[in-house]
C-alpha cells in the first residue's frame, strides 16, 4: 500500500488516525503497532511468510536487546548474533542472487538463483534495528523491555518502507510519553499534504519523461532529449523520495513523533560533500555513526581516512541496490568526495557560482549511474549525452518532449530551490495564514486526488496503451 493510493489515503490513514486519537494514552502504541502490522500484512499479501519474518525479527531483536542491556561480559557475543541475524536477512533477500550471479561467472560453477522477492522496507528497518542494538551495546540508550514499544519503533508504518531511518535515541522518549497537540497535528497534516503533492504532482509527472525515453529506447533519442531525460529523472527522484519522507514526517507529527529531517534542499549544494549532508540525511548519519566513526573516521591519518570513505561509499552504493551500477555509483561519489576534500572543495564553497555549475553537471551524471542498471545501456546513454552515439531517429524529438514535460521541468526547477518553502514559512507567520494556507492545501490535495484517480499516480504501473 503506497501512501499515494486511495486505499491508503481514503481508508487506512483516516481510520487509523481516528482510532489512534480515540485510544487511551497507554493503548496508543499498541494501536499504532496493530495498524502497522495490518499495513505490512497488506503489503505482504502475496508472500505472507514475509510478515512472519518481520514479526519474528522484531522478537529476536527484542530478546537480544534485553540481553545486551544486561551488560554482562557476553554482550559482545549477543550483539554479534543480533547483527548477523539482521544483516543476514538483508543479505539473503537483497544480495544473495547478486552474489550467486557473480559466482556463476566462474567456469564450472552453476548455482541456481533464489529469485527471492525483496521484503517490503527491509533495507530501512534492518538499519533501524541495527542502530538500536548498537546503541544499546554502547550504552547510549537503555534496552527496551516492552515489546510493543519496540515493535512500534521498528514497524511504525509511516517510516517503515521508505524512511527516514529513525534511530531509537531519536524517538525513545516520545515512544514512552508523548502528547498529540492540536497544533502539531495540523502541522503534520500540512507536511503530509505537501509531501503527497511532491510525489503525485511533481515526481510522477516528471517520471513520465524518463519512462517515455525508456520505452522509446535510448539508442533512438537525441542528445538534447537525453539531457532533458536525465534532468527530469534527477528531479523525479528528489521529489519522489523527499515527498515520501515528508509524508512520513507529517504522519509522525500527527501521531506525536518528531522524526529527523531527511532532505534539506540538496540540489542547492555547491559540492558533492555538501549534497550528501543534505540528501537522505538519516542514511548519511547512519553510515557516519555506525561505519565511518567506528572505523576511525579521520583521526587515524589521511590514508586510513580515505580507506574509511571508500568503505562507506561502497556500502552506500550497495545499500541502494544489489547491482554493479550501484557500486559504480558509490565509487564515483567516493572519487568526487576525495577530490573535493583534497583539491577544490573549499574553492567551490567559496565561489558558489562555480559550485552550482559543478553540481549542475554532477547531480544528473551521478543519478544516471543510479538510474540505468544495465551497463551496456548505460554506455548507450552516455554516448547519447555526449553526442557520439547513433544519430537520433527524430532529431527534433526534444521539442515534442518539451511540449509535454517542459512546464513540469520548470515547476520542478522552482521547487528544487528554497523559494517556495521560504514563501510558505512567511505566509504561515502572517496574519492571514489560515485564509491562504487552507485553500492551498485544499488545492494540492484535490489535484493529487484527481491525478491519482486518473490513474496517473504511479509511472511504473500505468497501463494505457
Amino acid at each position: 500500500m503506497v501512501f499515494s493510493s486511495f486505499d491508503f489515503l481514503l481508508w487506512f490513514l483516516p481510520f487509523c488516525t481516528v482510532v489512534y486519537l480515540l485510544a487511551r494514552k497507554k493503548a496508543k502504541n499498541l494501536c499504532l503497532l496493530f495498524f502497522s502490522i495490518v499495513f505490512y500484512a497488506y503489503g505482504a499479501m502475496e508472500i505472507p511468510a514475509y510478515l512472519y519474518l518481520v514479526l519474528g525479527s522484531v522478537v529476536v531483536n527484542w530478546v537480544i536487546g534485553i540481553l545486551i542491556g544486561k551488560n554482562t561480559p557476553g554482550k559482545k557475543l549477543y550483539l554479534t548474533i543480533g547483527l548477523v541475524w539482521d544483516f543476514g536477512c538483508l543479505f539473503v533477500f537483497k544480495y544473495l542472487d547478486f552474489f550467486i550471479r557473480q559466482f556463476n561467472h566462474v567456469p564450472l560453477v552453476h548455482l541456481p538463483l533464489t529469485h527471492l522477492v525483496l521484503p517490503l522496507g527491509i533495507s530501512f528497518f534492518t538499519f533501524q534495528i541495527a542502530s538500536y542494538l548498537i546503541d544499546v551495546y554502547r550504552g547510549d540508550v537503555e534496552a527496551e523491555y516492552d515489546l510493543i514499544d519496540l515493535g512500534t519503533y521498528i514497524l511504525m508504518f509511516p517510516q517503515l518502507i521508505a524512511g527516514p531511518i529513525v534511530r531509537f535515541s531519536d524517538v525513545q522518549k516520545q515512544l514512552h510519553r508523548r502528547k498529540v497537540r492540536q497544533k502539531e497535528f495540523l502541522d503534520g497534516i500540512q507536511i503530509f499534504i505537501i509531501g503527497l503533492g511532491k510525489k503525485v504532482l511533481l515526481a510522477n509527472r516528471l517520471g513520465g519523461l524518463w519512462d517515455d525515453l525508456k520505452n522509446v529506447g535510448y539508442d533512438s533519442i537525441s542528445t538534447k532529449a537525453a539531457w532533458m531525460g536525465i534532468i527530469a529523472y534527477s528531479m523525479q527522484l528528489y521529489f519522489d523520495f523527499s515527498g515520501y519522507s515528508q509524508m512520513a514526517i507529517g504522519m509522525g507529527k500527527m501521531f506525536g513523533f518528531r522524526f529527523p529531517k531527511n532532505f534539506d534542499h540538496p540540489y542547492l549544494s555547491t559540492t558533492m560533500t555538501e549534497f550528501w549532508r543534505r540528501w537522505h540525511m538519516t542514511l548519511g548519519t547512519w553510515f557516519k555513526e555506525y561505519v565511518y566513526f567506528p572505523l576511525g573516521g579521520n583521526r587515524k591519518g589521511k590514508g586510513r581516512m580515505y580507506f574509511n570513505m571508500f568503505v562507506v561509499w561502497t556500502l552506500t552504493g550497495f545499500w541502494h541496490g544489489a547491482d554493479w551500477n550501484f557500486i559504480l555509483w558509490g565509487m564515483l561519489l567516493f572519487v568526487l568526495l576525495v577530490l573535493e576534500k583534497t583539491y577544490y572543495g573549499r574553492f567551490l564553497t567559496k565561489h558558489a557560482f562555480f559550485g552550482h555549475l559543478y553540481m549542475l553537471f554532477w547531480i544528473p551524471m551521478s543519478w544516471l549511474l543510479f538510474a540505468v542498471s544495465d551497463l551496456k545501456l548505460l554506455g548507450v546513454y552516455l554516448s547519447k549525452l555526449y553526442g557520439y552515439g547513433e544519430p537520433a531517429l527524430l532529431p527534433d524529438d526534444y521539442t515534442m518532449y518539451f511540449e509535454i514535460y517542459g512546464k513540469w521541468l520548470l515547476i520542478g526547477l522552482l521547487f528544487c530551490t528554497a523559494l517556495p518553502e521560504n514563501l510558505f514559512k512567511k505566509i504561515r507567520k502572517s496574519r492571514y495564514a489560515p485564509v491562504i494556507i487552507i485553500p492551498i492545501m485544499g488545492a494540492i490535495l484535490g489535484l493529487s486526488f484527481y491525478c491519482i484517480y486518473r490513474g496517473m499516480n504511479d509511472p511504473f504501473m500505468y497501463f494505457r496503451f
Partner: protein, 318 residues
C-alpha cells in the same frame, strides 16, 4: 514484580496473542491461494471502473478480486478459443507459419525491415506507389502514436491518442502531429480518405467483448459512410511480451489473439483487409520479443521502421 518483569510478561502475552491472531488470519485470508495465470477478466466491468483500476493495479492488488474472476471465466475461454480457431482467415493462418520461420533464423534486429516485405499478402497487394499514403487516415492507440512518430508517412493523416478505444473514440482528442487536439469527427470529415488504417482493441480487452465487437463494426460502418471509396485496413493488435502477459489477466496474448481473430473475420478482401504485423516483432512463442521493448507493450522506436516497410509493401492499389 518489578517494572521490567511486568513489561516482559506483557510482551510475551502480546506474542502469543499475535500468533493466535495470525493463525486465524491465515486460516481465513491466506488459505485461498492467489490465483495465477488467470485467463480472462471479468466480462462486464463498467467503463468507469477500468480507469479506476489503473489506480489500484499495483503489485499488491487485492486478493478477493482475482480469485472470483478465475472461477467464472475458464469455461468462457475455452469456447472463445475454439471460436477463434474456426473463424481465423486464410491470411492469419498463413502468418502464423511465417512467425516460426522468421524467428527461428534468429536474425539481427535490422533485418526485420527486410522481413516486412516477405510477410504474407493477399493476391491484390503490391508495393505502394509514391503518394499512396497522402490520402490515408491512420486511427489507433499509443502504438499507432508510435507509428505516427517513428514510422510516419509524410502526407498521411493520423488520429491517434494514448488509451484510445472504440468506446471513447468520440470523446478523445488526437495527440498526433498534424491533428493535435482535434476530435475524431473533425478528422474524419476533413478529407475524403481513400485508405483507412486502424489499430484498436488493446485498451478495451477488459470490456464486454460482444459490445466491443459491435463498436468496432459500427466504427467501420461509420468510416465507410464517411469515405465510401476507402479501402479499410484492419490491424491485428500487437502482442505483448511474455513478462507483461504473465502478470495481466486482461492484457495478454490469449485475449489479444481472440480479439484479433474476430478482427480478421471482418476482412472481406474487397473493401476491408486484415493486416498482422506481429510476425515482425514476435518471438517463437508469439510474444513481443523481450529485447524489442521496455514496458512489454510498446516496441522501441527503431522497430517501427519495419512496420512502415510492411505497410509500404502491402498495399492494395486501385
Amino acid at each position: 514484580m518489578d517494572k521490567k518483569s511486568k513489561q516482559i510478561l506483557k510482551s510475551v502475552c502480546a506474542i502469543i496473542l499475535c500468533i493466535a491472531f495470525l493463525w486465524t488470519g491465515k486460516k481465513f485470508i491466506w488459505n485461498q491461494e492467489p490465483a495465477k495465470n488467470q485467463m480472462q477478466a471479468p466480462q462486464t466491468p463498467p467503463i468507469a471502473e477500468i480507469t479506476s483500476t489503473t489506480v489500484s493495479q499495483t503489485t499488491l492488488y487485492s486478493l478477493t478480486e482475482t480469485t472470483t474472476t478465475t472461477s467464472l471465466s475458464v469455461s468462457d475461454v475455452t469456447t472463445t478459443v475454439s471460436d477463434a480457431v474456426t473463424s481465423t482467415s486464410v491470411l492469419t493462418s498463413a502468418t502464423s507459419t511465417t512467425v516460426s520461420e522468421a524467428s527461428q533464423t534468429n536474425a539481427p534486429e535490422d533485418s526485420s525491415v527486410s522481413d516486412a516485405r516477405n510477410l504474407p499478402k493477399t493476391p491484390d497487394m503490391t508495393d505502394a506507389p509514391e503518394g499512396y499514403f497522402d490520402d490515408a487516415l491512420f486511427i489507433g492507440d499509443s502504438r499507432m502514436m508510435g507509428l505516427s512518430l517513428w514510422g510516419r508517412f509524410d502526407g498521411a493523416t493520423y488520429f491517434a491518442s494514448t488509451g484510445l478505444d472504440t468506446y471513447k473514440i468520440d470523446k478523445s482528442k488526437s495527440e498526433a502531429k498534424g491533428t493535435k487536439g482535434q476530435n475524431f469527427k473533425t478528422v474524419l470529415a476533413a478529407k475524403q480518405y481513400k485508405k483507412v488504417y486502424i489499430m484498436l482493441g488493446i485498451n478495451e480487452l477488459g470490456y464486454d467483448r460482444n459490445r466491443t465487437k459491435q463498436n468496432y463494426m459500427d466504427l467501420i460502418t461509420r468510416i465507410k459512410g464517411a469515405c465510401p471509396d476507402a479501402i479499410i485496413y484492419i490491424h491485428g493488435n500487437l502482442h505483448v511480451s511474455h513478462k507483461r502477459a504473465d502478470k495481466d489477466s486482461i492484457v495478454n496474448n490469449v485475449q489479444i489473439n481472440e480479439y484479433n481473430s474476430f478482427l480478421a473475420s471482418l476482412a472481406d478482401n474487397v473493401t476491408t483487409y486484415y493486416l498482422d504485423v506481429n510476425p515482425l516483432f514476435d518471438d517463437t512463442d508469439g510474444y513481443l520479443k523481450g529485447s524489442y521493448t521496455n514496458d512489454g507493450v510498446h516496441p522501441y522506436s527503431k522497430h517501427y521502421a519495419a512496420w512502415k516497410e510492411y505497410l509500404a509493401t502491402h498495399a492494395v492499389v486501385r
